[in-house]
Assembly symmetry: C2
Homo-oligomer: 147 residues x 2
DNA sequence: TTCCTTGCAAACGATTTGCATTGGA
DNA sequence: TCCAATGCAAATCGTTTGCAAGGAA
């Protein structure tokens, strides 16, 4: 299935210059993540994409896509790693982390709020010996399902 | 050693009302975390506290302290869980996350910056079906050692 | 005595890897 | 053709747990 959406073409280019192919399995992973509303773990993706892709291959796909900068890993409850499309594909966003069930939901801030936040980050990091390249605001609490 | 610092006494009370003891092993964990400048994993603590305590006991100590609300788990690179003293003991702070080596360093914001940040969080969460109880700003980049 | 704790080893779940096979440019 | 990609099974790694022995109240 080569829908050739914008995202698909960007990823194809990125992988191409990394010397790896954009195979069916990898497209399926990207598709599932594009459809998701938050980070997904290997086993969650495994269910989402019912097909016969074995877990080990899924892990390999995730690893390749991660190395190529297509994905961003998100470390989740109990030693689980969840992935989402990297910011250059999915846009900059923040996280609502449910302390009960561990799910993470993406949120985007209004331009106004985002710019205020960036101002804070900038001011804070200016005087540190730390080369800041990005930020995420993690809001903790209970999600709608866990109230 | 029963130094009986303020923190120790507060924890002792907390554990007491949870029906568990504040044993030597647990004191050692708290001590190591109090000395650390960021979250520590079980195996990191195992090295820090060089002697005798087997990993499984260390995990159990972490679990008990976590359940009692003394620690706060922090999900780190590659399915590792790192712990730090809970905010009511260590104070509210944020994180500098090194994308290269995965270490996390705590930072405190000035009152000015913290209040600006809180304003943003408040504004954002007000209109969500998410019961927000806290927040952490995660600044990503390269730490001094990984530049 | 009565629970809480600890040690040790086995068990577990998530992730990785070796190897032989398949697939795509 | 030639090297990347895949499946499968076995191996790793962080973490958990069952069970018997060791404290503390």
């Amino acid at each position: 299935m080569t829908t050739g959406s914008t995202i698909d073409r960007e990823i194809e280019a990125r992988l191409g210059s990394a010397g790896v192919r954009y195979t069916r399995a990898r497209r399926a992973v990207v598709g599932a993540l594009a459809r998701a509303d938050g980070p997904r773990s290997a086993s969650e993706l495994h269910e989402d994409m019912d097909q016969g892709v074995p877990l080990s291959s899924l892990y390999r796909s995730l690893s390749v896509l991660d190395d190529a900068g297509v994905l961003e890993p998100h470390n989740s409850l109990k030693g689980l790693t969840r992935y989402e499309l990297a910011e250059w594909l999915a846009g900059h966003h923040h996280h609502l982390v449910c302390l009960i069930c561990g799910t993470v939901e993406d949120i985007e801030l209004s331009a106004e709020m985002e710019s205020r936040l960036e101002k804070v980050v900038e001011t804070v990091t200016k005087q540190l010996s730390f080369d800041a390249t990005g930020h995420t605001l993690e809001v903790h609490g209970r999600c709608a399902r866990c109230v």
